[in-house]
Structures are given as structure tokens and as C-alpha cells.
Symmetry: C2
């Protein structure tokens, strides 16, 4: 039995998210159908590195599945893509060890949250960027960013509490900007539900002068979701890479 790892790019705009849903189209299902058509195998189980929510994108979602097909990995990429809609694509496939598991083997993930900071809406940015019309103080955002780095209990940045297991390690939080575009890159060993979007919403409030950069540590310590900024909209979020 082969174990095949895929790297997947998608525009989440039209989907209910990664996961298979009872009454809505999930990206996982779209991929499973496309792969099964090529391998001809029943009961295919595509394991994703994790869920992405409705409207969230990916440039580097990772998944794996076991198969007996003899089609080489490089050919699988192109064969599967012929069965996919144009907003989902497999960009890479390779054979991996039998114990590779897209979710449990993941050591770290990197997300990008994209902000367009200008007064006027932008047709070309609209599906991938969150428009913030008021000017953001980029220096304040840059000053706040490092306060998130390290091991912390990020309960203040999760939408659905899951109890005591809310400690995560953020290894990187970088702000890249070429006006009017601002991109927040965050890498961590795991993310709580809506964590990146809550961090983005909070950093936007820092940029708007609604909270100080220094208030971040106190906010993290509070563990109080209502004390943090709002969950920024889904379309700005993109899963960039899963590291193993």
C-alpha cells in the first residue's frame, strides 16, 4: 500500500471549508472525488493537515491518502487536476513513508493574513484581502507583533473554548508591507479555532490606535476572548505551508 502526500492550492471563496459537510461542498470531498475517479478505488480517505474554515484559502494545504494505484506521483498531479474545478489544484504529490499522517505528523503551520489598507475597494484584491479603510499605524502593529511569539495560553484568541489545552507556541509573527498591502505571517506548532483571525483582528485594532502594542501581553494573560479584537474576515486568511 502506498502513502501519497499532496500539496494543494485553493481559493476558498465558494466552499464551506475544508471539511466534508452534510449540506455544503467541502474541499476535501471535491478532492476525494477527483482522486477516486483516477485510482478507481472505493472508500478513499483523504487526511488533511487540518480544517480551514469557509472562505479561507490555501497555497500549501497538505493531505495524504493510501492507495494501491500504480500511477506515479508526478502523473497523479496532472490526472487529478483534470477532474478538479478551477478553484482547487494539486500542486505537488510524492510517495511518503507509511507512518506519515498529514495531521499528526505536522510540526508547524504557517498562515498569512492579508490586509488591504486603503479607502477605496479593490476588485482585484477582494477575494484574498481584507479591506481596512482607515489608515493603520504600521509601526504600532510591528511593535505589537513580537508579544505574541513564544509559548502562551491563547484562550483569548479562540472562538470555541476547548478547555485547558489552549497553550500553543508561536514561532514567528512577521509583518510584511508594501503599501497599501499588509501581510501578517504567523507560524505556530498548532492553532486554536479562529486564532489567526483573532490575532489579525487584534493587530488591526492596534493599528487603529484602539489598543496599545504593550497591552498584548496583558490581553494574552487575561485568557478572555471578549477582551481581544474581533475575528477578522475569512477571505484574508491563507494556509501557506505545513511543516513536517
Amino acid at each position: 500500500m502506498r502513502n501519497v502526500k499532496l500539496i494543494i492550492e485553493y481559493e476558498g471563496t465558494q466552499y464551506a471549508g475544508w471539511q466534508i459537510q452534510p449540506n455544503a461542498v467541502g474541499i476535501q470531498q471535491v478532492l476525494q472525488n477527483a482522486i477516486a475517479e483516477i485510482t478507481g478505488e472505493q472508500g478513499l480517505n483523504l487526511i488533511g493537515s487540518g480544517r480551514t474554515d469557509a472562505g479561507v484559502h490555501a497555497l500549501g494545504q497538505t493531505a495524504n491518502f493510501t492507495t494501491n494505484t500504480s500511477i506515479p506521483a508526478a502523473d497523479l498531479v496532472h490526472a487529478v487536476n483534470t477532474n478538479l474545478p478551477d478553484d482547487v489544484a494539486v500542486v505537488h504529490a510524492e510517495d511518503v513513508a507509511g507512518d506519515f499522517h498529514a495531521r499528526y505528523s505536522a510540526k508547524s503551520k504557517t498562515y498569512r493574513y492579508s490586509i488591504l489598507n486603503q479607502r477605496v475597494p479593490s476588485p482585484i484584491h477582494r477575494r484574498w484581502w481584507h479591506l481596512v479603510r482607515k489608515p493603520l499605524d504600521l509601526e504600532a502593529v510591528r511593535t505589537a507583533a513580537p508579544h505574541f511569539i513564544g509559548w502562551h495560553d491563547f484562550a483569548a484568541f479562540q472562538s470555541k473554548p476547548i478547555g485547558a489545552r489552549s497553550a500553543r507556541e508561536i514561532s514567528m509573527l512577521v509583518i510584511e508591507s508594501a503599501a497599501p498591502e499588509i501581510a501578517i505571517y504567523v507560524a505556530a506548532n498548532g492553532f486554536l479555532y479562529n486564532m489567526v483571525r483573532a490575532i489579525a483582528g487584534t493587530l488591526i485594532e492596534v493599528g487603529l490606535g484602539k489598543r496599545t502594542p504593550e497591552s498584548i501581553l496583558e490581553l494574552i494573560a487575561s485568557g478572555d476572548r471578549s477582551a481581544a479584537g474581533p475575528t477578522a474576515p475569512a477571505q484574508g486568511l491563507c494556509l501557506m505551508e505545513v511543516e513536517y
Copy 2:
């Protein structure tokens, strides 16, 4: 009577082009309706710098209209945008002299043709980039580019002959690349029908090794459309700027 100049951004994917069409939606019409709703004036005539074809985009389309409204130009931007669909936006408005004419006053236009040079399709690029799956020889393309610059009869690069008036001056043709993306920037004092797309199609053939960089001058001299490359697809083309 005021004369107001607009700069407009749009994603052309869903439109039959700039021009008002009998049985299809043109971007000009969408804008005219949105402006008329704000000014309350009948018979508004929005003059564009020129047509863009179905599926072609713009970051800097320019247009003007005369009006008696007292709404300041800066406020017009935001008022009109509230009446526009999210794939069209006014990004700038200003009062200009009465003799300004978006089409006749234009001195030069700059277009970009965007190529994605990789084997796999890309969901995030698909609306704005033309996917070329075979590897392009970028050095050959860069060598060919300067041969287009200057005053030439570009009859070999127009889809619909308009007689003897096919001489144009290309002032710039630059290839910018950050693999796998290749962007062709072309500026000229005017463009024939499908001229940029025919140039792009020809440069792609140079990159594929189907013709030499040196053959471009002979090709231009031939005036023979059938001797040049194919018209590259609309979605790669974007009107970047109109210079006055």
C-alpha cells in the same frame, strides 16, 4: 459644467468588455448607471480612454464625464462605489479642464500581459494570468522584446485590419519576472485591435523556441497577421495606466 476624470479598476472576467453592448453587460454601462444614480442626471455620457475586450482587466482605465453635480470629486469616488458591483471600483476622481477628453487627450497607454509559467494550474492566478505549461526561455523572450520598440507598422499584430493607419510607436516593452510569474509591460501611443495579445502570443512562441528573437523585425515588416503568434487569452491582459 464640470468635467470629471475617473480612474477605474475592474476585473473583466464577468463582462462583455468596456463598451456598451446590445445583449451583454459592458463595464461602461455599469459605471454610467452608478454615476447617474448619484448625480441624478439623465443622459450621462461616460467617455472611456478606449475599449477593453471581454475578460480583459484594468487597474488604471480612465474615463471622463460632464456634470452639474455639486458633489466634490473625492466624495464622488465613495458615493459611486456604493452603487457598483464588487468587481468594478472607482479609485480616483478629479475635476479637469473642459477640453479634457479621456480618449482624444490620451498620449500613451500601458498594458501588462501576465503569464504563469508552470505545469500545474493555479487557483489564485487563474483569473489574471495566462497559464503556459511548457517552460519558457526567458532570455530569448528578453532578447526579442526590444525589437518591438519604436515606430512600426504593426499590421502583423492586429486582429481586424483598419487599412493604412496601423503605424504605432511602442515606447516601452519590459519583461519582469519572478518565477513562475512573467509580466510583459507594453506602452505605446496607441494600440491596434488585439495588438498586445498578439505580441504576447508571439513572445510566448519565442520563449517556446518556435521562432527566434531575431525573426521579430522581419515579422513586423511582413505586415502579415498569419505569420505572427496567436492572440493570447484575454484574462492575462490588464490596462495599467493611461498617460495624458
